[in-house]
């Protein structure tokens, strides 16, 4: 089975810095892989995976300094997935970036596999931490960012949060800490899809105004369309240029983006019947 739309994963050390035209293809390939991975189980985090494809493409394939051959390279940029359930997309991105063998994707959610539905560090050093208990990623990221300052080893820490996760009080403890400590090497990418288990976030707890909250905690806030690759690249660059504050990129995303049968449907753990998956793959087509 050809698990990658691209024939050879990228294995270069350091930032890939792919241009937008290439990142579009990456996002497309990631979406195809998400459908394939979730299709096997018939249910899973397909909506989040499709929705965050551009976030992952811009982070792993443009901005982050990574060495696939040496996942614990001391100066690597840390990438943390606090929303550990977005695992189909995460594992697809690791495979495409050359951080895990593409064949491993065949084991996704199989009993005994290290590719679990909530990403765990059982997969090895390519995973920076085990989350899934929501609200914890930003604290660990802040610890890593503080460690860089203490040790003098220069790197950035990126952490992907979900909007539903903002309901956890610990996120705000960490936001206050990172703001107080002026951890300018820390960057949150908020995957703002307005979706949580019980539906629209507004129907559970009111999150708005999100940007104002982070501003009040002393953060550099950048709001953008999470599918706009140009805007994402500029935001990452701005985050790197920030010298006194941590940055949050508030990226509005559409669940199920890119597949007409799924786009805009709010479903945290969505059913993906084979016929829907097949239609999705047909719609996504092969990379030209």
């Amino acid at each position: 089975m050809n698990t990658n739309a691209f024939p050879i994963p990228w294995q270069q050390r350091d930032r890939l810095a792919l241009p937008v035209a290439e990142l579009r293809k990456v996002a497309h390939a990631l979406r195809r892989q998400v459908i394939k991975l979730v299709r096997r189980h018939g249910q899973g985090y397909v909506q989040q995976g499709l929705g965050a494809a551009e976030i992952f493409a811009s982070l792993y394939f443009n901005d982050a300094r990574i060495d696939p051959a040496h996942p614990r390279w001391e100066e690597r940029d840390r990438c943390i997935l606090s929303t550990a359930h977005n695992s189909a997309l995460f594992h697809a991105a690791l495979a495409l970036r050359g951080m895990i063998p593409a064949e491993l994707l065949d084991d996704y959610i199989k009993d005994g596999s290290a590719l679990e539905i909530n990403v765990s560090e059982r997969l090895g050093p390519v995973v920076e931490g085990t989350f899934g208990s929501l609200g914890q990623g930003l604290s660990v990221a802040a610890g890593m960012a503080a460690a860089s300052r203490i040790s003098g080893v220069d790197y950035r820490v990126n952490v992907i949060l979900g909007d539903g996760e903002l309901e956890e009080g610990q996120v705000w403890e960490a936001a206050m800490f990172a703001g107080s400590q002026r951890l300018n090497n820390l960057c949150v990418i908020l995957d703002l899809n307005w979706m949580q288990v019980e539906g629209h976030t507004d129907d559970v707890l009111r999150l708005a105004p999100i940007a104002d909250k982070w501003l009040a905690f002393g953060w550099n806030v950048i709001e953008l369309d999470g599918h706009d690759l140009c805007a994402l690249l500029k935001a990452f660059a701005d985050a790197r240029a920030e010298t006194t504050k941590p940055t949050i990129i508030v990226a509005t995303t559409v669940p199920g983006k890119g597949v007409s049968l799924l786009e805009g449907i709010i479903s945290h753990n969505a059913k993906l019947p084979a016929e829907v998956a097949d239609a999705a793959l047909e719609e996504l087509g092969e990379i030209a």
Binding site: T130, S133, G135, G143, A147, I150
Partner: protein
């Protein structure tokens, strides 16, 4: 009256602050702005000094506190190594995650707060970000069990049970100030998560007091190795247990051996089983609930080995306590020398 407008002004107003972080009988007045020196002069900070000494040798040690820097004696570390110190504020859940992140970056992180907040308050964070990844984090909790007047919110009667239940976690409780340096050293030398449960000294040790050794994972045999009865005590109950044994021998001619279970996990099953073959009664004493702590650990070992020896567990009997002096609380819960001696005497009929 003017409203203070700066933190300096606020500090200057704090002319007399009672320190409620110790036993209850102990309150001391401190002059502004030395909130950092909460105890009266002359009480050495055995923990703070031990950590400070260790950090001089090992540059990879970092320390965190949750707005309890002086009450956890971490101000010594902070003032000596300011770049390696982080105050996380009153936010223990975040502090545990930050410590996990520091440990994942190659540092040995020492986190400080009261026992209740280190365990109950941040249990999931400790489990997922410290225990699961085997992070080299030392969780240092102060105010164990009934050692504080601050009441039920500050009394950690279940922390040992909680920490014991976590895979990868080591649990150490020194018997008193003389064993704190060895406990700190043992925690530092053990690579991985450690919960260190201790109480600050409220008075200086006598000048000729020897430092107590601590061999991780080994129960330490103390007084009178013979007799039909063995008391295994931990932490603040070691001293009353020894006094109880002395009283039983002197007043009733009953020989009672005493041991100090400073390592509650991993638990020294070999010692307990070897003792069980020689004794008619084993007594556990702990400044903690009898559910899940030293008494439970002992019962588990004895039962699984099919030992028929009788076991008496002394401690907090499945109830919450209240704010009162430590002396009063220990009397109330049968943890004084008299209480322990009476319970042992009754058990022997």
């Amino acid at each position: 009256m003017n409203t203070p407008t700066s933190s300096q002004q606020v500090r200057e107003r704090m002319l007399a602050v009672e320190d409620f972080t110790q036993g209850g009988a102990h309150t001391s007045v401190i002059a502004a702005p030395s909130l950092e020196k909460p105890l009266g002069d002359g009480v050495p900070r055995y923990y703070g000094e031990a950590l400070q000494a260790l950090a001089r040798e090992r540059t990879g040690i970092v320390a965190l506190s949750a707005d309890l820097t002086a009450p956890t004696e971490t101000d010594l570390f902070r003032d000596t190594f300011p770049r390696r110190f982080l105050n996380a504020g009153i936010a223990e859940a975040n502090m545990m995650g930050v410590a996990g992140g520091l440990a994942r970056s190659g540092m040995q992180a020492w986190v400080h707060t009261f026992c209740v907040f280190a365990t109950r308050r941040a249990y999931d964070q400790v489990a997922m970000q410290i225990a699961y990844p085997h992070a080299d984090v030392k969780i240092v909790g102060f105010l164990p069990g009934l050692s504080t007047i601050l009441g039920v919110s500050h009394q950690a009667i279940d922390d040992v049970a909680l920490m014991r239940a976590l895979p990868h976690m080591t649990v150490i409780e020194p018997s008193g100030p003389a064993q704190i340096p060895a406990a700190v050293r043992a925690a530092a030398d053990h690579e991985g998560p450690v919960y260190l449960r201790l109480l600050r000294a409220s008075a200086a040790l006598a000048p000729d007091t020897p430092w107590e050794p601590l061999e991780l994972g080994r129960i330490q045999a103390l007084d009178d190795r013979d007799g039909d009865v063995l008391i295994v005590a931990s932490g603040l109950t070691v001293e009353p247990a020894r006094a109880a044994a002395l009283a039983l021998r002197e007043q009733h001619g009953i020989r009672v051996a005493v041991a100090n279970a400073h390592t509650l996990k991993p638990f020294d099953a070999d010692f307990v089983l070897a003792q069980a073959r020689r004794r008619k009664l084993i007594v556990t004493v702990e400044n903690h609930s009898t559910l899940g702590g030293l008494g439970s650990a002992t019962a588990e070992v004895l039962a699984e080995a099919g030992s028929g020896v009788r076991l008496l567990r002394l401690g907090v009997r499945d109830r919450f306590a209240q704010g009162a002096s430590m002396q009063w609380l220990f009397e109330r819960h049968g943890l004084t020398a008299t209480g322990i001696a009476d319970a042992v005497g009754s058990a022997l009929g």
